[in-house]
């Protein structure tokens, strides 16, 4: 009987631990995050870089990790009270819909989304959750990056055909509700390097099919999917798991590609798996977001073969040369060289540049905090938030 009681007690304890997330006291901020959007192993770096608005004073950001699991990462403030927050808890969710439930039930204090649908739902469901928006910086591009080392995707014309096949305007109108600008290259219209030629990559399915035929792609077995050199044009399009607009975008992109005889398996992945796949070069196409800017360093980082964030494995001899040269030049020569790089990138289409999404939605649980914004819209750093007693 006693053994049975102990067993039941232990079972209940373990069950409650499993069901209810651990609490880190009143002076903690719980951030809701998507496992597809952020790698839980990389949270420390994100805190330090103020990816989450921890403090104005970066020297003040000093935390010790006390928990690190795929579901939850917890950092304790090295500064004792009254410094707040004492804990920053990042809780990971599989999808924006499950994150949405946690926000509405106030398990989460702070989160963000790209999806107006989610923001609208939260605004409607719980008035205690303050919904704020923030304008993203320029050149924050959503794109489908191609693995330029893939046997078929190494072909520039096939990549171009993939871009021609995507009906960006339809996606823009039906999914993003004009909260984004259509992208034709890595830089948006605000850049001095922007050139009109970018707009050549409009939705042209006939041109896509024509391009593929010219490249020798044929549906020899009549399964509706083209082959080139007996290799079917079937790709896996991976995307950040659970991110709501991305789930819809990949489905529409898949349909667009299907129409020109290209099959795509869409596969959601956690950020950690995406990073692994990209680093190992074992991927076909990836829907992701990249922050570009019109500096030599940035372009080099993404488009130079030696660039540390050249996820495309892109190489263009001329572009590399220009990038090397541009670093040593002054305007206007440098600008002309950089423009040459951008032109090369657009021509080569190492990625299908889709949109510049310019709006993010943020959520704060006002039942827990008194003061978290300034000037009515700017979110204050976490260490300035006032906790409600």
């Amino acid at each position: 009987m006693v053994k049975r009681s102990i067993f039941i007690y232990l079972f209940l304890c373990s069950a409650s631990t499993f069901v209810y997330p651990q609490s880190y006291g009143e002076n903690s901020i719980v951030i809701g995050e998507l496992s597809g959007r952020v790698d839980y192993q990389n949270v420390g770096e994100l805190l330090k870089s103020n990816f989450y608005p921890v403090s104005r004073n970066t020297e003040r950001i000093s935390f010790t990790q006390v928990k690190n699991t795929p579901k939850e990462v917890v950092y304790k403030n090295n500064y004792p009270p009254p410094y707040t927050p004492q804990y920053i808890v990042i809780r990971f969710f599989e999808s924006e819909k499950s994150l949405l439930a946690a926000i509405i039930t106030e398990e989460i204090d702070y989160s963000r989304t790209e999806s107006a649908q989610i923001a609208d739902e939260i605004d409607k469901a719980n008035s205690a959750i303050k919904v704020l928006f923030k304008i993203r910086p320029s050149h924050y591009a959503k794109l489908i990056a191609y693995n330029n080392n893939h046997p078929l995707l190494a072909n520039r014309n096939i990549r171009k055909a993939l871009t021609y096949a995507i009906n960006k305007r339809y996606i823009h109108k039906n999914l993003l509700d004009s909260r984004a600008n259509i992208a034709y290259g890595p830089l948006d219209v605000s850049s001095q390097l922007y050139i009109q030629e970018f707009e050549d990559y409009k939705y042209q399915p006939q041109r896509a099919m024509r391009t593929l035929r010219m490249e020798g792609c044929r549906d020899s077995n009549n399964d509706g999917v083209l082959e080139k050199n007996n290799i079917p044009l079937k790709f896996t399009l991976i995307y950040e798991k659970g991110v709501l607009p991305d789930e819809d975008i990949v489905r529409l992109v898949k349909l667009d590609w299907n129409k020109i005889g290209i099959d795509a398996a869409i596969r959601p992945m956690s950020k950690m798996d995406i990073v692994k796949s990209v680093n190992s070069g074992r991927y076909d196409a990836l829907l992701t977001n990249i922050q570009f800017d019109d500096t030599v360093e940035n372009l080099k980082k993404h488009f130079s073969i030696t660039g540390e964030e050249n996820i495309f494995s892109y190489y263009n001899k001329t572009a590399s040369y220009f990038l090397d040269m541009a670093g040593e030049q002054k305007p206007p020569t440098r600008d002309q060289l950089m423009q040459g790089v951008v032109r090369a990138v657009i021509k080569d289409q190492p990625a299908s540049f889709l949109f510049f999404i310019w709006l993010d939605w943020y959520f704060v649980n006002t039942n827990k905090f008194d003061q978290f914004i300034e000037n009515r819209k700017e979110i204050l750093p976490f260490d300035e938030w006032k906790f409600k007693k």
Binding site: E94, E121, A125, D223, N258, A265
Partner: protein, 605 residues
């Protein structure tokens, strides 16, 4: 004096209790008569309004619930039809081609209700899906395929996704051209149901929701309740839904707020839809209507009361006037007449009163004359007797004088003494005659409003010196306020003076005269009378019982030099003023004369 010219303050009603007044009684009866139908109509109206609004609200909400239920059922039905149509198309395609994938992706893209569509092979494993197919994806199994092969459409129980969101599954059997079989399986999200529920919430605080067979919310206008996996736990409604019934019920929720809930089952499922509203909000129109009815009823009552008051007053005022007239008449104002108003019974009564007053006055005057004649006759008899004595004395003294004069030696001293006696008797005769004249030739009363306290005070001041010389203290006590009578001031003053003189003369060894003036009342068969009483209490040793019986008789006196007329005159004056004088005495102690006169009015102090 004319009745109409009198002030309303003259109307004698202050002494009648409020509830006993005719005005109050008539007013109450009028108001009650007017109010009764108004109040009954008001109650009926408020009840009808409440019942009607309750009925309207519950039926409206029930209609909403049924319609929403029908819309949700239609959506699910539509989804099944779309899936059936998609299945018919899919099975005509070659499964080795990309076309079925394009078809199902297009369906998911264009029909919002579909979250995911998959084509399963005859083993129940997913061949094609609009979503990523991972190794861990559960396949439906051969039994499921076999079951569907029987031709039934499949609609699953409600399920909750990993994202805590409810969904259901639909499936259609597939028979391909090559004879192979499969299943078209779809996951239907309930967002469409949420949207319908959102649009079904009524009022500002109304809620609409759908719950599954366990009572768990699967759609709710308050999303927190879905994501929090809350339960609806009103057993009677759950039982109603389980019995496929619809209806409405009023209950108190966990916050103690009374809700009116209309519920209906969702066909083809065991879910229930409820549209509810807090009763304070739902029945607000009824309350507004009730308030309006109450305001109208109160206004009607007020108007009825005002009309009743005016009308009652019109009835009562002549009666009050009549009462006032009678009272004035009864207090001695025999000339008072009422001017009749209108042609009703009260006007007739007023005329009758006037006729009666005229006759009564005439009759009284005649009575007075007779009484006076009798008094004078009596007085004449007494006077003749009284005159005899001095005349006898005079005759005797005159005869003695004559005899004395006939003597040779006239004693002048004696003669002078007899002359003095004669002169004194003549003087006594003169006094007797004067007093007789005082009574016999009665001056006409000149009545006016006289304040008793002032009159008494004047008498006290006039006799104060004399009282002091006799070592008598005069003390006056007055009731608060001035008591006023209708009297001939000089005559009534004379009466009081006579009483005061009598008292002063009685206290030969000094003493105390206490004069007390106070209001009183009496009720007789003729009605209620306001009175003023003037009490004269002296410590003059009292009066014997025998003397008390004659104290007001003419020429009765116990004093050596008394005329026996002072108190008789006082009584006569008091009688003339419709008053009375009483005396009580304790021998060797005190005597009290109490004068009672009709009070005209008493002013506040």
């Amino acid at each position: 004096m004319n009745g109409n010219s009198r002030n309303r303050a003259d109307i004698p009603r202050s002494r009648i209790k409020l509830l006993n007044r005719l005005l109050t009684r008539l007013l109450i009866s009028h108001i009650l008569l007017a109010s009764l139908p108004i109040v009954i109509a008001g109650i009926l109206l408020t009840r009808t309004a409440k019942n009607s609004i309750e009925d309207i609200v519950s039926h409206r909400n029930l209609e909403f619930a049924k319609r929403t239920s029908q819309s949700i059922a239609n959506s699910l039905d539509q989804a099944q039809k779309v899936l059936k149509s998609t299945a018919e198309n899919v099975q005509t395609f070659d499964m080795r081609t990309i076309t079925p994938a394009i078809l199902i992706n297009n369906v998911v893209k264009d029909v919002d209700i579909f979250e995911e569509i998959a084509i399963l092979n005859d083993a129940g494993q997913i061949d094609i899906s609009t979503h990523y197919i991972s190794d861990r994806d559960v396949h439906m199994g051969k039994d499921f395929v076999r079951k569907l092969r029987l031709g039934d459409d499949y609609l699953s129980e409600l399920q909750i996704s990993d994202e805590n969101l409810p969904f259901i599954e639909l499936a259609q059997p597939l028979l391909f051209l090559d004879g192979s079989e499969g299943i078209l399986h779809a996951k239907v999200n309930l967002k469409v149901m949420w949207d319908l529920i959102d649009s079904s919430a009524v009022g500002d605080q109304g809620e609409a929701f759908v719950f599954d067979k366990n009572g768990t919310f699967i759609a709710h206008s308050d999303r927190k309740k879905i994501y929090g996996k809350d339960n609806f736990n009103i057993q009677s409604i759950l039982d109603g839904i389980a019995g496929n019934e619809s209806g409405h019920k009023i209950y108190s929720n966990s916050d103690g707020i009374e809700m009116i809930a209309s519920f209906a089952p969702l066909n083809t499922t065991r879910w229930g839809i409820v549209i509810q509203q807090p009763t304070p909000e739902a029945f607000r129109p009824a309350r507004h209507m009730n308030m309006q009815i109450i305001v109208i009823v109160i206004s009607a009552l007020l108007i009825a009361s005002i009309i009743a008051y005016i009308y009652t007053r019109r009835i009562v005022e002549p009666i009050n006037l009549l009462i006032s007239g009678i009272k004035k008449y009864s207090t001695g104002n025999l000339d008072y007449r009422i001017k009749p108003r209108g042609k009703d019974e009260i006007a007739t009564l007023m005329k009758q009163f006037n006729t009666m007053a005229i006759r009564l006055t005439a009759y009284q005057n005649r009575l007075k004359r007779i009484e006076r004649f009798e008094t004078l006759s009596k007085m004449a008899a007494i006077l003749s007797h009284e005159i005899k004595n001095p005349l006898n004395a005079m005759v005797i003294n005159m005869q003695i004088q004559r005899k004395e004069l006939e003597k040779s030696a006239v004693n002048k001293t004696k003669l002078l003494h007899y002359q003095n006696v004669v002169t004194s008797e003549i003087s006594r005769l003169d006094k007797l005659v004067n007093n007789f004249l005082l009574i016999a030739i009665q001056p006409e009363l000149k009545k006016s409003e006289v304040t008793i306290s002032r009159l008494i005070q004047e008498i006290i001041e006039a006799y104060d010196v004399e009282a002091e010389q006799k070592n008598i203290q005069i003390i006056a006590e007055y009731d608060p306020g001035s008591l006023t009578v209708n009297a001939d001031e000089n005559r009534i003053k004379q009466a009081f003076i006579n009483i005061v003189i009598n008292a002063l003369q009685a206290m030969t060894d000094g003493g105390e005269l206490r004069i007390k003036v106070y209001a009183d009342s009496s009720v007789t068969s003729e009605g209620y009378h306001d009175l003023v009483k003037i009490e004269f209490r002296d410590t003059g040793g009292g009066i014997s019982k025998e003397s008390l019986e004659h104290i007001f008789d003419f020429y009765y006196t116990t004093k050596k030099d008394g005329t026996g007329l002072g108190l008789a005159i006082a009584q006569q004056i008091i009688d003339e003023h419709e008053g009375k004088i009483e005396v009580e005495s304790i021998l060797n102690e005190s005597t009290i004369f109490t004068v009672t006169l009709p009070l005209v009015f008493q002013t506040n102090s």
